[in-house]
Amino acid sequence: MTSLTSLTLTEARDGLRAKKFSARELAGAHLKAMEEARGLNAFVLETPEHAQQMAGQSDQRLKKGDARPLEGIPLAVKDLYCTEGVRTTACSKILENFIPAYESTVTGNLWRDGAVMLGKTNMDEFAMGSSNEASAFGPVQSPWRRKGSNAPLVPGGSSGGSATAVAARLAPAAIGTDTGGSIRQPAAFTGTVGMKPTYGRCSRWGIVAFASSLDQAGPFARTIKDAAVLLRSMAGHDAKDSTSADVKVPDFEKAVGKSVKGMKIGIPKEYRVPAMPAEIEKLWAQGAEWLKKAGAELVDISLPHTRYALPAYYIVAPAEASSNLARYDGVRYGLSVPGHDITELYQKTRAAGFGREVRRRVLIGTYVLSAGYYDAYYLRAQKVRTLIKRDFEQAFAQGIDAVLTPTTPSAAFAIGEKSGADPVEMYLNDVFTVTVNMAGLPGISVPAGLDGGGLPLGLQLIGKPFDEETLFSLGHVIEQAAGKFQPEKWWAA
């Protein structure tokens, strides 16, 4: 039965409907794989009872021929999504025992469509990180290893657990969140498909907030088609989120396999950064070539404000985070460390509850919003943001349908390699992905090849607002040309 874990989401869907296996068997196979892979530390909470109970319900519906879109599909859920009655921690000590009394809109949509929850996945604390090393539950180990080395590698972050679960076949698909690249970068590092939809496409209600104007939910899967199917269930307008967009959710699956003939693909020169490995440069050209072969037209474009995106992002995101995380004060829920007065209670609770990276960003955010610094930092960063957005708008106005870039400036690195004294080294991982969040656009990372060390690399496609369909069509072309990438299983219980 272990072969059940190698099925893609859509294969599993079709197999369930054809009654080749039951939802309980499918869930069981994945729960077993999760147990064996505990060494990877991808899950911070396994929910086997939940999974079996939900799968049992799915089996009943499948039996009656009453299957919903995701009937019986097991999924891994980033621990940033609040799940009713199931511990939700954002991988922070400050929420280590928090059990929500409510279900996030996105996970609620998935259960409504018949999906089965396998467990909650590891992540950087409050989604702040690019390697999954900043988790209160310890780092996630990538299922990938460099050829000839046993050195543990990072899966990327912050949604490292979800990416690992999908890459290591612990779940056919998973959900993550992406504030500056937290889905696309780990997808690239693990050879999986990861999409950040247009800001407003998925509801943020019930997702522990990091940076409200940038956070967006999105899918991880092993194929473009699977990601399309999953996104359709996740997405939709939600009156409980004022920033959720009231736009129709198309049948994304239909876009997969659609011709890309005549589409104009922008190749932005500003993404050719110094010290970018030659193999990434090569892969980028290769990706462009594949799209050209499929009938798309390549156009050199300029997105002149790209270089300001990263510094501006590291002002806007911490600013919002410093305010969003103020609620974790030890007064109503979560960790509370007593003090002799309220100020000391705050100080002790937050010092003990937040990890180093979270504390750093809260301090940065507090600083940039302070009187006398607001105009120089926050306001300026917002102006930069407007310019970045305008760069893309101008490209799209020229007739560009999508922009092709590398997802990351390097392949996965070793655990510990970039967690030294200079946080900027880590922040540079997001250099190609933050622009997309700053502009609120959809972006997808598609596995496109392996580097010399046998590690996966991804290409990123950036689309117009609410035009995820074009990204699925183009992504599919790359997927077909590049093939699929799977780590060799070296882990065991």
Partner: protein, 489 residues
Amino acid sequence: MTAPAKSSKLVKGGNGEWEVVIGMEIHAQVTSKAKLFSGASTEFGGAPNSHVSLVDAAMPGMLPVINEHCVAQAVRTGLGLKAKINLKSVFDRKNYFYPDLPQGYQISQYKSPIVGEGKVIVDTDDNQTVTIGIERLHLEQDAGKSIHDRHPSMSFVDLNRSGVALMEIVSKPEIHSVWDAMNFVAKVRQILQYAGSCDGDMEKGNLRVDVNVSVRKPGAPLGTRCEIKNLNSITFIGHAIDDEARRQIELLESGGKVEQETRLFDSVRGGTRSMRTKEEAHDYRYFPDPDLLPLELDEKFVKSIADSQPEWPDEKRERLIQDYGLSLLDATKLIRERETADYFESVAKGRDAKAAANFVINELAGRLNKEATSIEASPVSAKQVGTILDLIAEGTISGKIAKDLFEIVWAEGGDPRAIVEKRGLQQVTDTGAIEKVIDDIIAKNPDKVAEVKTKPKALGWFVGEVMKATQGKANPQAVNELLKKKLGI
């Protein structure tokens, strides 16, 4: 920047006159069943923490959604303040830590409020009017309540108020006397009540006022101001300003300097004391709330609110004067509350307006005041008062009997006309019957008859006797005429 105050408003100090400059911030709780950004109830007096939603408690991942009714209330109030309605406004976060502020920030409007500049016309104590500029009105969330006196080592927090919608109305620093300040608050409260956007109940804390006070020599630039926080009665506002202005004048005249600070008014001992200095002021790190899109209104929305607003107090007063020929004073009294004006108008319809105004102001309002009852709860309806006035006009009852009749209706209810008939309260206009009574009194009181010949004022004694004998039912006019005839004066 501001017009100099009239000399009559200047305050005498030890060495010359001072001008007081006052600006106000009025925090008015929006009348709404639900809170500003959550569906939780706003009912007053619920068990602690019984009206708290997941949003109000700032649970992880919860998001605010604006309550359209509260927006409409702010727009309506803005229209009453003759202010500019901003079709685009922005909600900001005001960040600070306190246990009764679960989010760690208050959602407010900082740079782009929903309502801009406006004006309020205030009656002064010398029967003039003064126009006070409104700087802005913005919407914000209230905090919860911290309770520190129930336990020796712990504090309690009640989040029922957390997230309740408030309007902060900010005046320009254009108020120059205690009376104007008090009248300004009363007038704004009246506008809020006319709008139905705030009940103005200061005892419940639904209307709270912060006052900024500074003093200067007439014509000099503005002095350093102090803010007195959280005043919850109009009388306290008057005392606080008076005490604070005196404190500043004494300080300056003795060579001191006013420090910009926040002060508290001590309503028991009088005077204000320092709460925190400028250096101790919070840095609130305002920034636009990324959970909320800018609030955009269209002209149609604003117009529909304007069209549905019956009448503002100034317009109503003008109309009562024009349409009913009332005096400024009577009209002012009648429009104090919209309900009183409505009551008056239904009484006055088809009747003598002055008589209606007198009755409502003197009899009804006096009685309501005595019982501390509102006009909505009046046991005597406008229809009943109308009937009483009709009975007077017809000559069926006298004015004096009307007062008694009003008391009966107040206590027992019923149709005044039926009561008059049943209890025989009709005026005696039968001259024969009155003559008989008069003859009887003249016969029994020869000394009084002699007296009245030289002192015509003694006629009053006779009138009183006749009235007494007829239980007040004799028509006073007829009594007078007959007495004069019979006594030969």
